[in-house]
């Protein structure tokens, strides 16, 4: 059981029009892991998440989730299967209330029956969302909006959650809190793939990491090993 693969991305190429954003990218995630994708702006991290979510489709290669090829599926089918994405920049629905944002997260039919249960889980993880449930999402602070985006992502009852640049623009103390919650989410049985620009942070929080440069995976492995890699040290830690 522990060695089975939850998500397997094999040699995908993704284009935005005539621009190639991903080149021969492969990645594997096992159930219960926290995996990081690290790279600078424009390295293709977000495109990789969008390809997994079905917002863009790979021109070559395949994406398998629990052994099923999902690379040509529409985004809403992929949410049904149990993959949820928390997009970069939070992207809460500004003119919906906090509660409405959470409820819309449980739109897919499988999640609707578990709505109350998942709502309680979101409130447990983020008590502030319960306090503010009747406020419009646009009136929340940046940190609260990030919590709402994460809480909403959990409402679809996912097996795998993809999180894009969670700590962007948040105060350090809030970043610590978000990572603590991330571990709690994993402890509740949800596998996590997150994208980060902060290399040092990612290499302590994740189990494994993939390092991307201009659309390619250049390094991958256990974070302990990656921290010792000469190339990583030179490029990212300046030693």
């Amino acid at each position: 059981m522990p060695e089975e693969t939850l998500l397997k991305v094999s040699h995908i190429d993704v284009f935005h029009g005539s621009f190639q954003a991903l080149w021969d990218v492969s990645l594997e995630i096992k159930p219960g892991e926290i995996v990081a994708i690290i790279g600078a702006n424009g390295s293709g991290k977000s495109t990789l998440l969008d390809a997994i979510s079905g917002l863009v489709h790979p021109a070559k290669g395949s994406i398998e989730f629990e052994g099923k090829n999902i690379s040509a599926l529409e985004p809403f089918r992929i949410v049904d299967l149990g993959i949820s994405q928390v997009p970069e920049g939070r992207m809460v629905f500004p003119d919906l209330t906090v509660l409405e944002n959470l409820v819309i997260g449980s739109y897919n039919h499988k999640a609707r029956s578990k709505r109350e249960q998942n709502l309680q889980r979101a409130y447990q993880l983020f008590p502030v969302l319960k306090e503010r449930k009747n406020q419009l999402a646009k009136t929340l602070s940046g940190g609260e909006q990030q919590m709402l985006a994460l809480g909403r992502g959990l409402m679809s009852d996912p097996k795998l959650i993809l999180i894009d640049e969670m700590s962007l623009g948040l105060a350090p103390i809030l970043v610590n809190e978000m990572y603590r919650i991330l571990r709690e989410i994993r402890d509740r049985g949800i596998t996590i793939l997150f994208v980060e620009q902060n290399v040092r942070r990612s290499l302590t929080e994740a189990d494994r990491a993939y390092i991307m440069e201009v659309g390619r995976v250049v390094l991958s492995g256990d974070v302990a090993k990656l921290r010792e890699e000469e190339k990583v040290k030179k490029a990212y830690f300046g030693t």
């Binding site: 979510s53 985004p75 949410v79 997009p87 992207m91 629905f93 919906l96 997260g105 739109y107 909403r152």
Partner: protein, 288 residues
């Protein structure tokens, strides 16, 4: 005092008429707010509702308002098909393509109406459509009051639907952020088809009450489209409250314009107001 007494009727008429305008505009506003399509054919689809009521009344002897029980689901279905198989596909090419297709649809509908019902003006003449009521200095046709009651009911229903149902929330979410709506597991193509379908069911209601209030011809759709665009500009695209207030503002401008400047100038006054609002608050009174 006499001026106030004399003004009472045009003011009340304007407000009540505004309710009808709001119902005519609501479908247009909804489709623009959610799908970002400007449905040039909306006026003609409203007139389709009028002809549906006309057939129900003259052929089957059913009261036009009662006939909506059948008319609304039929137009709902037609709307679903138009968006799903025509406009959703055009939408993926470009926004201009949807505009051109809607324009073509408008021409096809107008000519079809001419073929079936001739260019002659028709009306839904029922016994209650001819009655009027008086309260103090106010004298208005009874049908204007029915228009307004229908408008309030329709607005309340749509408001509650958008707020309380999964589909309603999905429609609002897709209107605010299409990409994130995808990530929530919302099939936006389907949500758009339902939105257009609802807009058509609203056109059925608007068409029947329009036919009870005014006479209509195969080409009346264009003038009501322009009124609806004016209402939506006044109130702000995609807002229900805004559409309601915009409708009343338009109705008042028309009746008061008619009172002060003569019936010939009443529409001019209304459109000048639309232009002024467009110049001063381009987003409309309740626009975001």
């Amino acid at each position: 005092m006499t001026l106030l007494n004399e003004l009472a009727t045009p003011v009340v008429m304007g407000i009540l008429l505004g309710g009808l305008y709001a119902v005519i505009a609501l479908g247009l506003s909804l489709v623009f707010g959610v799908i970002k399509e400007i449905n040039i054919a909306h006026g003609d689809l409203v007139i389709l509702g009028s002809y549906f009521g006309y057939v129900a009344m003259t052929v089957f002897g059913i009261d036009p308002i009662l006939s909506l029980i059948i008319g609304m689901p039929i137009l709902f279905g037609i709307g679903f098909v138009i968006q799903k198989y025509l406009l959703n596909r055009a939408f993926k090419i470009s926004m201009d393509a949807t505009l051109i297709i809607a324009f073509g649809l408008s021409l096809i509908l107008q000519n079809t109406y001419q073929l079936i019902w001739t260019p002659m003006a028709r009306g839904l003449t029922t016994s209650y459509a001819l009655e009027s009521f008086s309260a103090g200095p106010v004298h208005v046709p009874l049908i204007y009051l029915l228009d307004f009651v229908a408008a309030v009911l329709v607005m309340l229903f749509i408001h509650q639907f958008l707020k309380r149902t999964y589909l309603g929330r999905a429609i609002r979410a897709a209107a605010q952020d299409r990409k994130t709506a995808h990530l929530m597991g919302i099939n936006t193509d389907r949500v758009y088809a339902y939105t257009f379908a609802i807009s058509m069911a609203l056109a059925a209601v608007a068409g029947v009450f329009l036919g009870l209030t005014f006479s209509f011809t195969p080409i009346s759709g264009m003038s009501f489209l322009i009124i609806a665009l004016g209402v939506v500009v006044l109130g702000g695209m995609g807002s229900i409250v805004g559409t309601f207030v915009g409708g009343i503002a338009f109705g008042l401008a028309q009746t008061l314009g008619g009172y002060f400047f003569g019936v010939a100038a009443q529409m001019l006054v209304a459109y000048v107001m639309v232009l002024v609002v467009l110049a001063v608050i381009p987003r409309g009174i309740f626009g975001r």
